[in-house]
Amino acid sequence: MTITETQMLDLVGHRFPGGHYRIEHWENWLLTDCTGAEQLPDGLVHPIALFHVPILGSRTSISELFELCGADGPGSVGLESYDWEYLRPLLEGIDYHVEGGISEVDRRTTDDGQVYDAVAFTIELLEGDTVVARVTNRWRFRRAQA
């Protein structure tokens, strides 16, 4: 096992640096196209932007999260769940303030003995002082047996 349960539990409360993110039209266009949908009207951002915008806007990255949580390589990380709240629709060209961190870690063992850590991170997008979106994502980090 490359990372201990104690090391993982110590990650709870870890805060990302925080920052700002502006979703540009080209980025939203490509994102929407990737889903196979027609482009949205009125500068509306496709709701799945709530995956990467919180991560990148809070000044972390998928790579950093993998490293922080001791990912064991390709195939060792999986998605568990998302909880995404849209208090206002997201729009292109708005400078969102983004902040958050790791909110929960739980080491679990499956029925067939596979050990994994369920890691949740919670991040908010704000426009001024107003929270406009909130995400909690849970990823599974599977651990190799010793």
Binding site: E27, L30, L31, D33, C34, T35, G36, A37, L40, P41, D42, L44, H46, P47, I48, F51, H52, I55, L56, S61, I62, S63, F66, P74, G75, V77, G78, L79, E80, S81, Y82, D83, W84, E85, Y86, P89
Partner: protein, 143 residues
């Protein structure tokens, strides 16, 4: 828009998950995880010749189904869990059903079960809260 508890949402199908779109998505996400674009690396994981679709894209098909039903900008909350991965070339269909309707923040909101199916197997499932009209309009409510 008439919405009733028990309504089935019109399904939305992605006939063939496109590996080229996974590459674009990986770039947008700054996702270095090679399972989405490197077939040779995936061969070592037991997926020879295949790449794995990104979870947000799987959820995106569900969002597209909700938009087609209730309009862009209507999604208020998505809570989902993920089952088995979706691979390039597979056909998936998003669906949903209205479980309840209430009012909040000056609008009528449908609380829906949502899912993504692949060959009859649910690979993403959860719930969505969707604005179906302003509270002053006349959505039909049966509880």
């Amino acid at each position: 828009m008439n919405v009733e508890v028990g309504d089935d949402l019109p399904p939305w199908t992605m006939p063939s998950v496109d590996p080229a779109r996974m590459k674009t998505m990986a770039a947008i996400l700054r996702d270095p995880y090679s399972v989405h674009w490197d077939r040779e690396a995936n061969a070592r994981l037991g997926l020879p010749g295949r790449v794995i679709n990104q979870g947000p894209l799987n959820l995106g098909y569900i969002v597209n189904m909700l938009h087609a039903w209730a309009g862009a900008g209507s999604v208020r909350r998505l809570t989902v869990s993920f089952g088995r991965p979706v691979l390039d070339g597979e056909c998936v269909t998003a669906g949903g059903r209205v479980d309840s309707i209430d009012e909040g923040e000056g609008e009528r909101r449908a609380h829906c079960r949502i899912w993504l199916e692949l060959d009859g197997e649910v690979v993403v499932s959860g719930t969505a809260v969707v604005a179906v009209s302003s509270a002053s309009s006349s959505a039909t409510i049966h509880s």
